[in-house]
């Protein structure tokens, strides 16, 4: 188990837990990132920059700041 912030670009992972405040979890949900979704990390900004990902389950592409990404627990597929 690792966080989205630690996932290397190119890897496909499944979201198993979103930690952090209720506000953040709700925000991620309504923008299209839910528990159980299959996610592919496309790119990762340098110097603790954000993570760019594609949600393979919904087709949504998101950029998540490093702090946010480190609260998303994932499982390698």
């Amino acid at each position: 188990m690792l966080t989205l912030a630690e996932t290397p670009p190119g890897a496909v992972v499944r979201v198993i837990e979103i930690m952090g405040g209720r506000g953040m979890r709700l925000r991620l949900m309504r923008m299209g990132l839910n528990l159980g979704d299959l996610v592919k990390v496309l790119s990762s900004g340098p110097l603790r920059g954000p993570v760019y990902l594609e949600n393979l389950s919904t087709g949504v592409k998101l950029a998540l700041g490093r702090g946010v990404a480190s609260k998303v627990l994932v499982e390698p597929q």
Partner: protein
């Protein structure tokens, strides 16, 4: 009159649809949430008159960003007769969650399955009939940017309205439904009627803990408030998460089920060329090279298009003015003033304005700006800002007013405050015209480049300084990266035209009037008085000729005006014969940093209040004097 609201998630194509029926009115772009205030238009279409309202894109009805709460407030104002829910068909799974939430409002509704071409490219086959049956609503496939499906959409909308067709009620898990039905019974008629929303919708919102509704109920009916709390606690004990998440989760599950039942992936998505390019644009190293090239290209194009055009256009004006000057009569002097204002607007500003606005609009529409936010997020946080602030900064190179309005995409008030303050310092197209027409033209482009970099350094330092005074932390970046879109040439031309029209009808009169005022002041012998009053600033601090004094005051109306007036005050368009290179730099630095213009002050006041607007104005004046003086002093030591 029938009032139709266009509602949908960011980038679903609402504004494109709005434009297709309403003509030259609304600003479309490819950044999540750019329509930050709603736009309305009276429309005559398919033989009916109605009012069409384009609401800002929102991911759900739960208000997060200020842009989103605009949409929610409007939908609950009771003014809406019919909803057109615009959906990006290529992101159907997520979009259906919002459709479910909207349907709960219980208003007549139609769904536009927009961007069907993109969905097909992704290999999705959508069974429209299944969706229509499940929701009890018409789903109309459209491709709004090509005008496809729009007639069908509006005929379906009128039919729904005329027949009073309401969406079906889709049920959630029993644990949720139990509480909802008990709340529905307890909700008084007075609460539901004015907002035109169904009791079911209100019950769900109460259960979720909507702050606005909760506080209203607390005052009006304490019993309902108590019941809500009791049921919410019960639900939370049963499902183990907060009620808000439980309801959102239910919606997600239901939407996923409906999505899977109606949509099949019939083949592998064709990789679009844009996706291949995206690899380089979002690359952790190459991305910055691309970014640098884009901005280098931006200014090179603007300068190399603008400069020859400026020379070409200025010559006839100069000849005419010489002719009037030779007449040596009062009327001729007035005519000269008018001509000078016109020359400034047409020959000096327009050549830089049009290419700049064109390129910035292109970057915006293609979908590059959110990608810049991704690339710059880390640096921005280090400076105490937010990745999304970058978007407002880039828009600021076009015009400060929309840039300030675009700060509504920032969730935290702290980030908005800081970004608005700093956007004021970004040289807008008017200031760029001054920089290019004075500094680049007379001292060479490398000095203009120096000025832009100097400007960015100052902004970065200011950001660091101001953010250290603000206690709150900036929230982490959560930003949707939309797919690339090739804007139809028509829409891009429309956008440039909108800016141009604003400039021609709003700025030209001010330029001509300002120029005339100056001539009149001069003829009345008052010009010297103003200049004398400003002498401490202009001559003592900045080391400029005292004639420039009045240009600085009137420059507050429009920044281009300073340029026009400078020419007038100095009595020649060949500025370099009167001002030394150092004076040109000092003058331009001052112009670049001090209060952008009166419209900016107004819009800042509207967004943040008058206190902050005057703070921003004084801050910029202080910084401008400080920097211009510092530059003058530093230069006099080194030269």
């Amino acid at each position: 009159m029938l009032r139709i609201a266009l509602v949908g998630q960011p980038n679903s194509g609402k504004s494109t649809l709005f434009n297709a029926v309403s003509g030259l009115k609304v600003d479309v772009s490819n950044f999540p949430g750019t329509t930050v205030k709603y736009t309305r238009s009276r429309v005559y279409f398919l033989g009916r008159h109605f009012e069409l309202v384009d609401l800002p894109g929102t991911y759900s009805l739960e208000a997060g960003e200020p842009a989103e709460s605009v949409a929610v407030q409007y939908l609950l104002s009771g003014e809406v007769d019919l909803i057109i829910n615009v959906v990006d068909a290529s992101l159907l799974a997520r979009s259906l969650e919002f459709t479910l939430e909207l349907a709960e409002l219980g208003l007549p509704m139609v769904v536009a399955l927009n961007m069907m071409d993109e969905a097909e490219r992704k290999g999705l086959k959508i069974d429209v009939g299944k969706l229509e049956e499940a929701f009890g609503l018409p789903f109309i496939p459209t491709v709004a940017n090509r005008g496809r499906g729009i007639v069908q959409l509006f005929s379906a909308a009128f039919k729904v309205y005329d027949e009073g067709l309401k969406p079906k009620i889709l049920r959630y898990r029993r644990q949720v439904e139990d509480k909802v039905s008990r709340l529905e019974e307890a909700i008084p008629e007075e609460l539901a009627r004015p907002v035109k929303a169904s009791k079911r919708f209100l019950a769900l919102r109460l259960l979720q803990g909507d702050p606005y509704l909760t506080s209203r109920v607390k005052l009006s009916s304490p019993e309902l408030s108590k019941l809500t709390e009791k049921l919410r606690e019960m639900l939370e004990a049963e499902v183990g998460v907060s009620a808000a998440e439980a309801v959102a989760g239910e919606r997600h599950h239901l939407a996923m089920m409906l999505f899977e039942a109606s949509t099949k992936v019939v083949r592998r998505p064709k990789p679009s060329k844009a996706d291949l390019v995206d690899k380089y644009i979002m690359h952790p190293v190459l991305g910055y090279v691309v970014l640098g090239l884009v901005f280098y290209g931006l200014f090179t194009v603007v300068f190399s298009v603008g400069q020859p055009l400026e020379e070409l256009l200025l010559t006839p004006f100069e000849n005419l003015m010489e002719y009037f000057a030779a007449l040596k009569s009062g009327y001729a002097t007035l005519a000269e003033g008018v001509l000078l204002g016109l020359a400034g607007g047409v020959a000096v500003v327009l050549p830089y304005f049009v290419p700049l606005v064109f390129i910035i609009s292109l970057l915006e529409d293609v979908g590059y700006l959110p990608r810049v936010a991704f690339l710059m997020d880390s640096l921005m946080h280090r400076l105490g800002l937010h990745g999304k602030s970058v978007v407002s900064f880039i828009l600021g190179y076009g015009c400060t007013v929309p840039a300030i309005m675009s700060t509504r995409i920032l969730e935290s008030p702290r980030d908005r405050l800081l970004t608005v303050m700093l956007v004021n310092f970004i040289p807008c197209s008017a200031r760029t015209a001054v920089i290019l027409a004075l500094v680049a033209f007379y001292l060479g482009p490398q000095w203009a480049l120096f000025l832009y970099l100097f400007n960015l350094t100052v902004i970065a330092a200011l950001s660091k300084l101001l953010s250290s005074k603000l206690k709150a932390e900036s929230p982490g970046l959560i930003l949707e990266i939309p797919s690339y879109k090739l804007p139809p040439p028509g829409s891009l031309a429309k956008k440039v035209w909108l800016h141009l029209r604003e400039f021609v009808f709003f700025a030209w009169p001010i330029l001509i009037l300002g120029s005339l005022v100056m001539v009149v002041l001069e003829l009345a012998g008052l010009l010297n008085l103003f200049n004398l009053l400003l002498e401490p600033l202009t001559v003592w601090v900045l080391g400029l000729p005292k004639e420039v004094g009045v240009t600085l005051i009137l420059g507050i109306l429009r920044k281009e005006l300073t340029l026009v007036m400078l020419i007038q005050a100095l009595g020649t368009a060949k500025v370099a014969t009167v001002l030394s290179p150092l004076q040109i730099m000092v003058f331009t630095i001052f112009i670049t940093f001090y209060v952008p213009c009166i419209s900016t002050i107004m819009v800042t006041a509207r967004e943040l209040g008058w206190k902050m607007a005057s703070a921003a104005a004084f801050l910029s004046l202080f910084i401008a004097i400080l920097l211009a003086f510092a530059f003058r002093t530093a230069a006099s030591f080194t030269l």
